[in-house]
Symmetry: C2
Subunit: 341 residues, 2 copies
């Protein structure tokens, strides 16, 4: 094996095995009609020169790179690493590679650029918003895109989410059944469909149960972060008539809220109940023991990959809009209360 030369090409193999270059290609792509003896000679040469086919050349011919672009939001929200981990697994099983964009809003554009330059076969987007106009343009160019987690109504692409509206309702229902009446709400950026749906479900749920939600007990966090959850909860807890339960539209905010209570010497659930959304790994830790809504991440990601594969291989069908059910995870932050069935 030469360490200084260029990598071997299929021509080098052909020469060494005394066959045509086409035959080398056949052997490597598992074409059936190759004489065993020839195949062996080729494989021997492949080993001898430590040959690997050039992926770019193959991609150019086949119009398929095997790369999938994944756009996630700030990786500081543990939900996204969790999604990436599972997604990476599913993609690897499907023989695909994962390209990740995650640093800023510009990333969405970068991902689409890559798609348009044929550097990725398709895109899985976890953070689409109605503002993503570039994305919309790309869709019209038939770039295969699957929206997962956040979705955008009416857009011509496959979409995969959990039932955030129902999740919000479940929380409302749960808190009211438990006798909580003075409810607090910590919301987030409304550009995310997930957030809008959770909020709507929560509000509608309360309304249909005849429980009022005091606007004075509703705070919107400008971004998802521990710090913002901390600040928002602090504001609520400082109210003269503080809530007896707070629903945070995601776990990161809820963990911040939990720490706000801790800092004030308040006890959850004795002083107030706390509910989050996402069931990120830390929510189950004793430090937080947070009641929250779990999204079916494994199924969502698996479906996303297979939908995308269909699109890429040109399977034509209607755009699929799937909404999967969620589970309320009852934990200590709501005293483990379970309503009678």
């Amino acid at each position: 094996m030469n360490t200084n030369s260029q990598p071997a090409t299929s021509r080098d193999i052909a020469r060494l095995a005394k066959v045509s270059q086409a035959t080398v290609s056949r052997v490597l792509s598992g074409h059936p009609s190759v004489q065993p003896e020839t195949r062996d000679r080729v494989l021997a040469a492949v080993r001898q020169l430590n040959y690997r086919p050039n992926g770019m050349a193959r991609a150019m011919r086949t119009n398929r790179t095997g790369n999938i672009g994944v756009v996630v939001s700030r990786l500081a929200n543990p939900l996204y690493p969790q999604m990436l981990q599972i997604l990476g697994q599913h993609l690897a099983e499907a023989g695909l590679r994962m390209m990740v964009w995650s640093t800023s809003e510009a990333d969405e554009m970068n991902a689409l650029s890559a798609a348009r330059e044929s550097l990725v076969d398709g895109i899985i987007m976890t953070t689409a918003t109605t503002n993503s106009s570039q994305l919309y343009d790309a869709l019209k160019l038939n770039v295969p895109v699957v929206l997962i987690n956040r979705v955008v109504e009416g857009w011509p692409c496959d979409q995969l989410s959990s039932d955030n509206y129902d999740g919000g309702r479940q929380v409302a229902d749960y808190l009211v059944k438990a006798g909580r009446r003075r409810l607090g709400l910590i919301g987030g950026p409304a550009v995310a469909s997930t957030i809008r749906d959770r909020l709507a479900g929560f509000r509608d749920g309360l309304a249909s149960l005849g429980v009022a939600l005091d606007p004075g007990c509703c705070v919107d966090a400008p971004m998802f972060s521990h710090q913002n959850g901390f600040a928002a909860a602090s504001a609520l807890l400082d109210l003269a008539d503080a809530p007896d339960a707070i629903f945070c539209v995601n776990d990161v905010l809820a963990l911040g809220a939990c720490d706000a209570a801790r800092t004030r010497g308040l006890n959850v659930p004795n002083d107030f109940w706390l509910v989050g959304y996402d069931d990120i790994e830390m929510s189950a830790w004793p430090a937080f023991d947070l009641t929250t809504v779990r999204q079916p991440l494994t199924r969502m990601t698996a479906d996303a990959v297979s939908l995308l594969q269909d699109r890429i291989t040109g399977v034509m069908r209607e755009h699929s809009i799937k909404v999967l059910p969620n589970d309320l995870m009852v934990r200590g932050s709501t005293a483990g209360f379970r309503p009678a069935a």
Copy 2:
């Protein structure tokens, strides 16, 4: 813009702008010698057909994809998302794309495969171990690889780490200066150079200060997880003569240890002190308020990217082995104690 046809190629542009295909290429690659008027005609055509050059074709010609492979360990350890985030930023600034492998041990191999297939220009590896024999083979094929975080002594590639040995020493020094004498240690898999160095530094530090480390107070976690930290700390806290300070070789373990204390109704720092390593974001949260050692992630990642770029562009020089200094972040888990300067 046709929505049903194939994407436009540079020939299409050439035809429309009535120039040769070569000229299109010149304009797009910013070649100086093109008449302004011609250039404008080409750019107009580019806009009109909404053209983007095909990245694969370009990559095949130039032998450069602009993709960098990054191998990280379990994304469940927040250190890695944190590294990815910064790395992604630096790579994007350098006009490079980030390909992530992270699901299993097989990922290291997959990354190297991708490199050998010319699908990535180089690799940043955060989780190398002496066991990575595939990696070693790849190095001999001149695949550009930078080791960051974990390093492997004597391997022919650029390596970039923080001074884990010194970090361990600093912790030992700090605890002893504060009067702690019965020390506990929660270690981890010794395949990681980071862990070996931290442990060695800690042990050597204690030894040079004349403080004994009871082997009965040393537990090794088989893997980094909250759960394992919890279990290990539980074992130490159940000892008849429990430690008055515990050093965990990384923060994830330390957070687990913190929760073990919480679950037992013990108070940190009143009942014992706790020190971690990495300064992941959560360590600063009130729930943990963990004293820990911070690695200079920004600088490490920035240097890694620029070293890799040098290798890729063929700048020849000795393999660079850099070790950057760490900072001890003093927080509540050690009662905010600061030794007199």
